[in-house]
Symmetry: C2
Subunit: 701 residues, 2 copies
């Protein structure tokens, strides 16, 4: 590359980071605006009917709104982009590990993810917008990186530098971080999330770029929120709106040794419940996969069932709850946002229903109410019975909702369940401790998050950024450590589980113990297709047609060399580009290096957008062409990474994973006839495959 | 390993993390306590003389105290542990990159680092305790990891699992993070510092353990500070003491577009001054290296000169400054700590000298005064002239102080200079901006830190944790990004510069561009010593004596195999262990695998403590023994990583670096007589070496 090209590349890199930040910030704000306005309209409508004691009409309105929104989200998912269902974090994680699942970052997925998420969250489901925001950020990054959609002919020439795996991966890491930053308004948390949970490979330079992206998101969100707060009604019903949930700037919480024990206890139970959550989500998901597999209409039906259940629980349960008299005046003006509104529901004047103020509102507002310091307002205390009912309802609803065909984040359900659990413990322990129940709610949320997601530093920082009080750090850390440790004894983190359930071949960072007992040669399999340095077109076309391999070893044979020797590795995509240029074929085995280099530029071999490469079926050849030869040397990677067949499989796996390879050539130890034994790919390192070959291996040793 | 052993290992791993956190926290507190009490005594003494207008005696007392403390620190460094001089961060960084410099983490270094740092900081030098705390944390981790000092026969058997490079590196990463956490009371910042600046290899599992360690540090510090604040005088003169510098819980700072421009301007100038700082530090350091090389007495003399200069500047300059009348009562009670004390110095009653309140106090207190919000106290405003004099004095003193033979951190001098620069800009711009001058001081400190250290996320988080206000994030981020970008155009970060100056062979994360034009075979050099699978003792001893190599290829030759083939790699340290057991020698070339495995356990080959291995000179052999044979197969690593000689050097460098190798075997492409071409080690990848071999290579292409 020349100096000018390097300069262009650097400028472009940072411009893209800026754009990702800007657009993700805008989308994040738009998402919140949409949810707050739609949900606000729905709740206002229902509330007005309730005040006039038209209970049946109110339920019908509430149920109807939820159903319409839910079906809308489900229809988008089922018919336009099935890949947009679910959280999206497992898919992004798998992508960054090197697994390019079908249309996971396509423009249609982006569209459905944004609108489906707004409809789903506004539709009262126990789902969050955080996971979908991460996926949205990744989609935006991908679209920008490939210069728009190739399908819609929107590609830009100057993006040619980004048509490779590494740069694209970097961009998508930035996008994921920007998504977290936009969802939680937590820029540092976003960077750490990308580092801890999303990325499989990390470079120091990336830290800086990711940080820049999340900083842009933070600035954009701040600017737009200031704009909204300048005048009443500028942004409709958008109030405190889901961005900073809980702005506590109180003094350092004082705690004593008994408090510490209580917190550890909270962490242990939280870890247990978190791993139980994972277990149940896994079971439910398996059932849903079968149902969803039957067709789009079944997906929509399933969403309708869940929507009905949710509406019944959200509307019905509060009716069973006792009314509480307000201390002082009841803060009842829902027209300016619902955040601090304590709901009268079916109660007489000057009373409010504490269960309905949790259930009959948006999820964000419910979390805000659970986190509030009980000393701040006398109305902030909850009845024990309400907390228990709310906890059980949300815990179960969260489990049965994940997996239906709408974009559904896991953060909010887990935080809701955890916060109510923590508030419950805090209320029970109130006579014995100085810590406030609101603080316990925060710790409870931390314990559930630690128990399900198994992140540590990033969760901790996200929670601190949500609450804007760094002095809470030690206890939040403690509870996260305890709950993660407890939960790790039982199962894996929820995202890892989902990755496994989807059958994505995820490469773990460490080699499995049993790999130490195997060598690389043991797992090499299948018939190996190799090409000569100058190969007959027919042979290449045949090999491309009968196999699905993405890489083929190239071997130089006599008379080019004295003995057969390994020349390198050639990729399917590069072969296809070469085959398209039929003028490069020759009638004899001759080197045509210079002609090829003249006719083809490096950019012709750049990686195309997702799933839009040429297929071998698109190419047609005459009989005569099939008999001609083509020189593969110019497109062969002459320095592929190799291992000797006697290399320990564990070490080969380490090499494969740390360098982020897709193909690893296995060469014979003793020079023999064929200079190559086989190729190792990602699938050859999967435990299922290896244990299938060697069923007697002890999985844990 | 059995299950019990794995369990022991895990328990031990976490126990060590806990211990590192505990001890580093204790040392950090002890350090602060020492500095505050010694410096407090010194300042009280001088102040009392000043109040009685005995100016000459006051100067003598001040000068004398500083000189005694300085000479004490220098003597410790010069005679006991020369490795303890300087910051220590470059050395820790190099260690984590795989460079084990002489006694850099030895117990004597730890001792001198702790006490030298206390004496140096209390002695009024413009040095910080942050770098030394990082080094201290790393030393503590190393000592615990090797189970105490081998020299003093304090080793524990159950630590055998940690006698390898990887576990030791992990521990020292935790130690470095704990050091930052203890110095700044910034647990998250500590983790990020270890990730961004210190560590060369990072594993996700480490994130969690590091986080635990820093959490322990935070809890310990908090507990001890609470203890100190419970009763007056419990901890002597220890007041607000250097832990949280600046506890701002004000609202979100409001800023407009002109403010943003001002901040960008601040960042640009900060970046320029930061890179100038690096340039000058480098020049000064080269001079000092020559002086210090002449012997311990020259080191002490140099410290005395700098101490004299510092005393003159700190005492003399304020005399030139104009007195300012206090608004209201002068806050003059230095007996309870100096933090908010505005110094009367030579001024009449109800006046104070603003320059002396910055210069004639501890560095921590000066920073606190610069950061203070000017709206908080009318006395908090500074004269422009005082700020200019202070900035110039500290900027130059900081440069000439680094490199003298005392433990000296770079953070505090840079923060001091940056904060005064920012405060200066803020005071000048005061009529035009809404941002407070105290806030500008914070941004100025950020710009200088970004310009010298070139960290981003970690600095940002450390600054936020120092100030406990997350809402300042966007502007701090912006200024860091600008100043780092500007400074990167001129030179490298200060720590990288020092690593280079010390000649440590640091492996960069990326390969240099010119490596793409070379192949692995090009840089292989020197006579290669190889051993047979069963080798004559004399040959081994000879090879060990005439070379300094740490690894030797082992080649199986006929009659053991049909043709010579590469068996693997054997390490010098393992050879020495084998040679110590003379009963394993045989008279003939025979395999004695089973005997060797019976007689030697894996733990015999464990890596010993720093620099305490056996040397070949310790072993003596009779003529007869020299003629005997020994079977190397059991101690040979049979799966060494190899590359073909035609592999691109850039790719080989990537493999070497990403997998953290120490030896990389180069094998011939075409099977020939010797099955190995050479060994690549760290030194073969150093730019100086490669450019020496190929002087015509373009360094930047």
């Amino acid at each position: 590359r020349t100096k000018v090209e390097i300069y262009q590349y650097v400028v472009l890199k940072w411009t893209l980071a800026l754009l990702i930040g800007l657009i993700t910030g805008l989308v994040g704000f738009f998402n919140n605006l949409g949810v707050e306005n739609i949900a606000g309209f729905k709740l206002l409508l229902t509330n007005n009917l309730m005040i006039n004691q038209k209970y049946h009409q109110a339920f019908a309105a509430y149920f109807g709104c939820n159903m319409i929104l839910g079906v809308g989200a489900a229809a988008l998912c089922a018919y336009i982009a099935p890949a947009a269902a679910g959280s999206g974090i497992p898919e992004v994680k798998a992508y960054l590990n090197g697994i390019d699942a079908h249309s996971i970052l396509a423009p249609s997925t982006l569209f459905v993810k944004i609108f489906g998420s707004i409809l789903g969250v506004a539709g009262g489901f126990v789902v969050g917008k955080e996971g979908p925001m991460v996926h949205t950020g990744a989609c935006i990054a991908n679209l920008l990186g490939q210069g728009g959609s190739r399908k819609y002919r929107l590609t830009w020439r100057w993006l040619r530098y980004f048509k490779n795996d590494r740069d694209r991966r970097d961009l998508i890491t930035c996008g994921a971080a920007a998504g977290v930053a936009a969802a939680f308004r937590a820029p540092v948390g976003g960077v750490l999330f990308a580092l801890e949970e999303a990325a499989s490979w990390w470079r120091s330079a990336l830290l800086w770029r990711t940080f820049f992206t999340t900083a842009v998101v933070a600035v954009v969100l701040r600017g737009l929120m200031q704009f909204c707060h300048q005048g009443e009604g500028k942004c409709g019903l958008f109030g405190e709106g889901g961005l900073i949930m809980f702005d506590v700037n109180s003094l350092e919480p004082a705690y004593t040794t008994p408090d510490l024990l209580a917190v550890i206890f909270l962490g242990v139970i939280g870890g247990l419940m978190g791993s139980l959550y994972n277990y149940l989500v896994d079971k439910v998901l398996r059932t849903y996969t079968t149902i969803n597999g039957k067709g789009p209409i079944f997906k929509i039906l399933l969403v309708m069932v869940i929507s009905f259940m949710t509406s019944c629980i959200r509307f019905g349960l509060p009716l069973l709850s006792k009314c509480v008299p307000c201390s002082g005046e009841c803060p009842n003006s829902p027209s300016t946002g619902f955040s601090m509104h304590y709901d009268s529901f079916q109660c007489p004047p000057n009373h409010f229903n504490d269960l309905s103020s949790l259930l009959f509102t948006t999820n964000d507002d419910a979390i805000r109410k659970l986190f509030i310091d009980s000393s701040e307002s006398a109305n902030a205390a909850f009845q024990l019975s309400s907390l228990i009912i709310f906890f059980v309802a949300i815990y179960l609803l969260g489990i049965v909702t994940y997996g239906v065909a709408i974009p559904s984040g896991l953060f909010i359900p887990v935080i809701l369940a955890g916060a109510s659990y923590g508030r419950l413990v805090g209320t029970v322990l109130n006579p014995f401790t100085d810590l406030d129940a609101g603080y316990f709610a925060l710790l409870g949320a931390a314990s559930f998050l630690g128990g399900t997601m198994r992140m540590t530093v990033s969760l901790c920082v996200i929670l601190l950024e949500l609450t804007n009080n760094l002095l809470m750090l030690p206890l939040v850390m403690l509870v996260l450590l305890v709950s993660k440790t407890v939960a790790d004894c039982f199962n894996k983190g929820v995202y890892d589980q989902i990755v496994m359930l989807k059958g994505l071949p995820f490469m773990e960072a460490h080699a499995e113990p049993y790999m130490k007992n195997l060598v690389a040669g043991d797992v090499v399999s299948g018939p190996l297709f190799t090409f000569s340095g100058i190969e007959k077109v027919g042979t290449i076309v045949h090999a491309l047609k009968v196999t699905g391999h993405h890489g083929f070893p190239v071997i130089d044979e006599p008379p080019l060399t004295d003995a057969p020797e390994l020349c390198g590795l050639v990729l399917r995509s590069h072969l296809l580009v070469l085959l398209k240029h039929k003028t490069l074929f020759t009638r004899k085995r001759i080197m045509t290096r210079s002609t090829i280099i003249k006719k083809l530029k490096a950019s012709d071999f750049a990686k195309p957008g997702l799933g839009r490469g040429i297929s071998v079926k698109d190419l047609e050849f005459s009989e005569e062409e099939m008999e001609m030869f083509v020189d593969l040397h110019p497109i062969t990677n002459k320095s592929p990474y190799t291992v000797v067949e006697t290399m320990s499989l564990a070490k080969a796996a380490l090499l494969f994973r740390e360098l982020g390879l897709r193909h690893l050539l296995v060469v014979p130890k003793i020079p023999g006839r064929p200079p190559i034994v086989g190729i190792l790919t990602r699938h050859d390192f999967m435990p299922e495959y290896i244990l299938g070959l060697f069923p007697n291996l002890n999985r844990h040793k």
